[in-house]
């Protein structure tokens, strides 16, 4: 736990109690805004200044756009936001190209403001929604709060103003039921983050997925690479989905219902389905504001496929402007194109592959190709990624394993355990809904989750998406 986490633990219960004392919407909004600013300032007072500046400018741009919906005004807003994002997020990537120019030392000192990718995309969706004629009329306070809302400002989910505005204007105070539901989600999130932590660090010291990626050598065998690909895929899932649970739960404590960000992505049977279940707030953003408008330009199949690849390339670059992330995006774009072509082929030839066996095969192909893609996402260099892929396709490298057995065991148990839990969950969900957990048992579960998430992982815990 770091000082920010401690601040959150201290400030949020106070804010919760204060908000319950206010009945006027505006007062509650101001308390929420001040809380959000206080918490965000703990990451850097300069970051807060930038957020306020961006929020103010975008609110103004939104008003201008609302007054006259012109393409020029929209582009002004888009370019201004992309310039801001580009300066803080991508300028450093250009350092190797700048060499010893006068600009280089200045750029080297640029620090990435936490959450800038998330709140800039929120701004863009606001401007685009106004341009599309959506009835959005946030007050200045509401817009500031939309941008700085403390549960989402650091790592999403990327919200749309249309879904948040009504809740911001709600006159109802958070209830005890909200608190219980929120705590439930936070506990699930803490468990998941702890599982991700175990995968990252291993059962024994320095025998986890992260360390293996750090020390990767070309001697790693095919099974090793598969183990790392699946291990990292699930580590990232547990970490980010766990974080999203915590955020959604924390917002629920205050009576806000945020959209889901993950929906059991690893049970997807096609790449397209995967992207409706993984980091949903970003993938839907890309679909609605990038893919669909681009696809409208031209109805040809070739253009549609190109649009898919371009959209996924931008999806990858949203994370970081590196060649590895660009390749990761293109790889997923190609997977989506291949899936689309396969569907067309099936339709044309009248093939029907339904039933459990084809579904199982489809699921297996999907999960393996998705996990293979994580190699690009997590590798330290292009050479490492290609060395890993070489090991995967080299048949002779499947004769032995070099990673610790404990890591294989861990990955196997967590992957199978997770998939088994999902299956079991489906079986008992109906019965659980009618079963109310006694308060005492609930407290015991909270206690366990807090221990696992806060105390056990206290030394090393970090949320993967904070760096984006």
């Amino acid at each position: 736990m770091n000082s920010q986490a401690l601040l959150y633990i201290i400030v949020l219960p106070i804010a919760w109690l204060v908000i319950r004392c206010f009945h006027a919407t505006r007062s509650r909004q101001i308390v929420l805004l001040l809380t959000s600013y206080l918490l965000y300032a703990s990451w850097g007072i300069g970051f807060l200044g930038l957020l306020i500046l961006s929020s103010t400018a975008n609110h103004l741009l939104g008003r201008l756009l609302k007054a006259r919906q012109s393409v020029g005004r929209l582009w002004l807003g888009i370019l201004a936001n992309l310039a801001l994002l580009g300066t803080f997020k991508y300028a450093r990537e250009l350092l190797p190209l700048l060499g010893r120019t006068q600009l280089a030392p200045t750029i080297a000192h640029i620090v990435l403001p936490i959450g800038i990718s998330f709140w800039t995309f929120q701004t863009l969706s606001y401007l685009l929604d106004i341009y599309r004629g959506e009835e959005l009329d946030p007050s200045f306070t509401e817009f500031l709060l939309y941008m700085a809302f403390w549960p989402t400002v650091l790592s999403g989910p990327i919200c749309r103003l249309s879904s948040l505005l009504l809740q911001l204007r709600s006159t109802e105070n958070p209830t005890l039921n909200d608190a219980v539901r929120g705590m439930d989600r936070i506990c699930v999130g803490l468990f998941m983050v702890a599982l991700g932590e175990i995968l990252a660090n291993g059962i024994h010291f320095d025998q986890g997925v992260d360390h293996a990626f750090q020390i990767f050598s070309p001697n790693f065998t095919g099974p090793d690479v598969w183990c790392l690909a699946f291990g990292y895929g699930f580590e990232l899932f547990f970490n980010f989905a766990g974080y999203s649970h915590i955020v959604i739960g924390a917002a629920r404590l205050f009576g806000f219902e945020l959209a889901e960000n993950f929906k059991a992505p690893y049970i997807s049977t096609t790449p397209s389905e995967f992207w409706t279940r993984w980091h949903m707030s970003l993938s839907f953003w890309i679909r609605d504001y990038l893919f669909l408008p681009l696809a409208m330009f031209n109805r040809s199949k070739l253009w549609r496929n190109c649009t898919l690849v371009i959209s996924m390339l931008i999806f990858g670059l949203w994370h970081k402007g590196t060649p590895l992330l660009a390749i990761w995006g293109i790889y997923h774009g190609i997977l989506l194109v291949l899936h689309r072509q396969w569907q067309e082929l099936k339709r044309r030839l009248g093939w029907d592959f339904s039933g459990p066996i084809p579904n199982l095969i489809s699921w297996f192909i999907t999960i393996t190709s998705i996990c293979l893609g994580w190699i690009f996402f997590q590798s330290n260099a292009l050479t490492q990624a290609f060395d890993m892929l070489r090991s995967v396709i080299k048949v002779s490298s499947y004769s032995m394993i070099t990673l610790p057995h404990s890591l294989y065991f861990l990955v196997l148990v967590l992957v199978l355990g997770y998939l088994g839990t999902l299956k079991l969950g489906n079986l008992v969900t109906g019965r659980l809904n009618s079963f109310s957990i006694p308060t005492e048992v609930r407290f015991a579960l909270y206690s366990t989750a807090i221990y696992v998430g806060v105390f056990h992982s206290a030394q090393t815990q970090a949320f993967a998406y904070f760096k984006f």
Binding site: N2, F205, F455
Partner: protein, 383 residues
């Protein structure tokens, strides 16, 4: 009545919450470290107290710290090896390094790599809070158990800030455990305390330490620099330890004391000095740097006077947070540099045929010039 039921239920829930946390902490200890589920589990279980003071409990284990059957940190003694015993305090015992990465372990690996076979064993006879007077008293026992050929002495100067009468073995009497430390023996209380401490912003932590120092020094005279008598006492004790080891047929090698602080103090260094002073409030922050310099000079002079090999770790180990986890304790990479440094320094002692014994006096410093009570030729490592 309904209110009373609600209150009782609330208390029950709070109790369940704490009990489950405690249950988790104990289960975690069992799974992570093989700790006992019942009974106390803290760093005190590593130590026993006898008539000479605190000493390692044979076979004890606490978290990453494992003692062997003789009560020393590290593996069991291997027959047929040349043994080097390390005397020191927590810096030598190892606090922050990964398991088996404290400098004595790394030194053993370095030496055996040089030898090309498992010829040497480095025994870690240090304990947190160990002082030179205690070490002197322990020499006969250590020698009879380990039969070392060489002894590395890495003394901790700070233990001489609060000088105790010579008859008392530990420099600082053990503080009785209080309810503040471990509330009702709950393991979770210690974890909560540590978590809160680590989560507090640096500036707040420093301010709290300053408050504590101010409180502790209300009725105490604070020293700007360490009194010369303390340095003299350190010099005497070091000399006595050297003599005692030699009397038992063990050749001592002295090592100067390294710290995180470089020649120019950074704002972080000033915070660290306040952190250090919290343990020894009677010495002002600036006095610590001066103390290190003078104590290290005393070590160098003792080495010169007693014709001992000296390894000047204070000058060899780069300062800064990469090598030090706090003021004086090594990180794993710091311990690695220390071990490499010691191995180089020990080469002429352990491999005289290969590296030769260079006993040339150091330039411009003769035993007489540095005031040895019984001067003879100088011994400096050939590095």
């Amino acid at each position: 009545m309904k209110h009373i039921v609600h209150i009782l239920r609330g208390i029950l829930c709070a109790l369940i919450f704490v009990l489950v946390l405690e249950l988790c902490a104990r289960t975690d200890d069992v799974l992570s470290y093989g700790a006992p589920f019942w009974g106390p589990y803290n760093n005190e279980i590593l130590l026993k107290t006898d008539n000479l003071g605190k000493w390692g409990k044979p076979g004890a284990r606490y978290e990453k710290w494992q003692l062997n059957s003789l009560g020393y940190r590290g593996p069991e003694l291997q027959p047929g090896t040349v043994r080097i015993v390390c005397f020191g305090a927590s810096e030598t015992f190892g606090l922050y390094e990964a398991p088996d990465e404290e400098y004595p372990r790394q030194l053993e690996r370095e030496l055996n790599k040089l030898a090309g076979k498992p010829e040497f064993q480095v025994v870690n006879a240090a304990f947190p809070g160990e002082t030179l007077p205690t070490a002197i008293l322990r020499v006969p026992e250590v020698v009879s158990q380990i039969h070392p050929s060489y002894a590395l002495i890495y003394p901790s100067p700070a233990t001489y800030i609060e000088i105790t009468p010579r008859s008392v073995s530990p420099a600082r009497a053990p503080r009785p455990e209080s309810l503040d430390d471990r509330i009702l023996g709950l393991r979770i209380s210690e974890r909560v305390g540590n978590l809160l401490k680590s989560a507090l912003p640096k500036a707040v932590q420093t301010r709290l330490r300053q408050f504590q120092i101010e409180r502790d020094t209300t009725h105490v005279r604070v020293m700007q620099t360490l009194a010369e008598a303390n340095v003299e006492r350190f010099r005497e004790d070091l000399g006595a330890l050297v003599k005692s080891l030699r009397a038992h047929g063990v050749e001592p090698v002295l090592v100067t004391h390294a710290t995180i602080f470089g020649s120019a103090l950074t704002p972080e260094d000033r915070d660290l000095l306040i952190e250090w002073r919290k343990f020894y409030p009677i010495l002002e922050e600036g006095g610590f740097i001066d103390m290190e310099r003078r104590m290290n000079q005393a070590i160098r002079e003792t080495a010169a006077c007693e014709k001992l090999y000296l390894i000047d770790a204070a000058n060899e180990i780069p300062p800064g947070p990469n090598n030090f986890a706090d003021m004086v304790h090594f990180t794993t990479s710091g311990a690695e540099i220390m071990a490499a440094d010691l191995a180089v320094g020990l080469k002429p002692v352990l491999f005289p045929q290969t590296y030769g014994k260079n006993l040339a006096p150091s330039a411009g410093r003769s035993p007489a010039s540095i005031g040895c009570r019984s001067s003879a030729r100088l011994g400096v490592s050939n590095r």
